[in-house]
């Protein structure tokens, strides 16, 4: 064997990688929260909205679900400047990931809307609730509970998807791993450590989601 694994040659870069992990975590959380809001509005329009609005949401969802996320971020980063809009790498990635998440979360939440019993909606109507009130007080708490597992899954996928940001000059975990690799050439060690950190941040995210679920919506879930 001509390659000896030396983890000790890359230990000094680990704090730098961990800083990148914090940024990955942050991008995922912001994009997910933004996507949840877009998704709630989008799902409401898809279920209750009228012709033109519904068509617009439909077009948005099909566009973002049927094109690769990478291409979408490329568009925000390299095509918008031709129209005079210069987004920073961080902004472009965040806008791209939020809009992409919004499309998927619209579809996931729409399924949740449909799972609400008609009787509950009729009860809300009887109580004189307006449509936004019904969505906020009756449907949203309901779908949070029903949709907790698929929403958590999507969040984990998004956390791993933040690695794309490296291509656009955001110094998150993957980007920093490439930097360390270029300096040391210790590819095997660097990417094993990076994979380990990703496992760490997804486990941390799952744990937070499970506890948030128990506390907010009384959903029973396990980290493992």
């Amino acid at each position: 064997m001509n390659y000896t694994i030396h983890f000790n040659l890359i230990w000094k870069y680990v704090p730098d990688l961990l800083q990148g992990a914090v940024l990955s975590f942050q991008i995922a959380i912001l994009a997910f929260l933004g996507g949840m809001i877009i998704g709630l509005v989008g799902a409401s329009i898809k279920i209750f909205g009228g012709g033109v609005l519904r068509g617009a949401v439909h077009a948005y969802v099909s566009f973002f679900m049927n094109t690769p996320q990478l291409v979408q971020i490329y568009f925000f980063f390299f095509a918008l400047p031709q129209a005079g809009i210069l987004l920073s790498p961080y902004q472009a990635v965040l806008v791209g990931m939020t809009l992409n998440a919004g499309a998927y979360l619209t579809e996931i939440q729409r399924a949740g809307f449909l799972s609400v019993h008609k009787a509950e909606l009729e009860a809300a109507e009887t109580l004189g609730m307006s449509l936004p009130q019904t969505i906020w007080y009756v449907i949203f708490p309901h779908i949070c509970k029903v949709l907790f597992p698929p929403l958590s899954n999507h969040y984990i996928i998004m956390t791993l998807g933040t690695s794309m940001a490296a291509i656009f000059g955001v110094e998150e975990l993957t980007g920093r791993a490439f930097n360390v690799n270029a300096i040391t050439f210790r590819s095997i060690e660097v990417f094993i450590v990076t994979a380990g950190i990703y496992v760490g941040i997804t486990i941390l995210a799952s744990a937070i989601l499970v506890f948030a679920g128990r506390w907010l919506f009384r959903v029973k879930g396990k980290v493992f």
Binding site: I167, S187, F191
Partner: protein, 272 residues
């Protein structure tokens, strides 16, 4: 039930990772084994024109490919070009999927802990590419927080910037076309990279008024990367590289692909 199922799944995954690593790290082929096999496998990065690029038939061509063909000819074996990228090129050598790797392998003492370098094949002169609108005259003017650089992630210019122009801001993108576009769009003020390569990139954005600062910064020496300790192959390659320099073969290939002589020529010596 979910929890113990998860743990059971993790175990074989971890085991297979260990196995893959253990099996993958095969013994690098010695010179004799390459001659017996009759094939020399060379890693070329096709995203570094004109060192490596795809032609219209989707074959990898360029300086590196032609140089590798000369090496294979001297060895009397067939040439197999293997596509490598920046993050995977060292694992390719380490796991014996290729015999040596090319693609502007700048030698540094840090990297030489991991792989062995042959004698240098070509050089790279580092310089500053900026636009005529910018006032900079000398690269040392660029060490202020008002200057932002855009660089290709994983190139040797990045540690150079951190060390020598620490006040400047740096944005790292994935590849040369993206970096040049970012510069043309005004996302950053300048880039430090290989002057030999810049002409090709400047031509892709003709409407931009480019400027190259005429103070070259430093010279990097690019070698072939050989698996650590593969002395028999490295010794032979050094002799072959010497002959290719002495006979002007390397200069000839360079001028064909770069439309001009190497900016800093390698001085071969009697002691190669």
């Amino acid at each position: 039930m979910k929890h113990w199922l998860g743990k059971i799944l993790v175990l074989p995954l971890a085991l297979s990772l260990v196995l893959v690593l253990g099996m993958g790290l095969g013994q690098a082929r010695s010179l004799d084994q390459i001659i017996s096999a009759g094939v020399l496998r060379v890693g070329v990065n096709p995203t570094l024109p004109p060192l490596g690029l795809f032609n219209e038939k989707n074959e990898i061509v360029g300086f590196d490919t032609e140089f590798a063909a000369e090496i294979a000819k001297k060895l009397g074996v067939k040439l197999e070009i293997v596509k490598v990228g920046s993050p995977d090129r060292i694992p390719f050598v380490a796991t014996d999927k290729i015999d040596f790797v090319m693609g502007a392998m700048t030698r540094t003492s840090e990297r030489a802990k991991t792989i062995d370098f042959t004698a240098p094949v070509h050089t790279e002169i580092m310089g500053v590419l900026t636009t005529q609108a910018k006032p900079y005259k000398n690269w040392k003017d660029l060490n202020t927080s008002e200057v932002s650089f855009v660089q290709v992630r994983g190139t040797t210019a990045v540690p150079f910037l951190e060390k020598n122009l620490p006040k400047a801001k740096v944005m790292l993108l994935d590849n040369y076309p993206d970096v040049i576009r970012a510069l043309a769009q005004g996302r950053a003020d300048a880039m430090i990279d290989v002057l030999d390569f810049m002409k090709i990139h400047m031509d892709t954005h003709k409407q931009t008024k480019w400027k190259i600062l005429d103070t070259p910064i430093t010279v990097y020496y690019c070698c072939l990367g050989v698996s650590k300790g593969n002395q028999s192959l490295k010794d032979w390659l050094n002799v072959a590289i010497f002959e290719l320099h002495r006979d002007g073969v390397i200069d000839g290939i360079w001028e064909k692909w770069f439309y001009g002589p190497m900016l800093h020529k390698i001085k071969w010596s009697d002691w190669f």
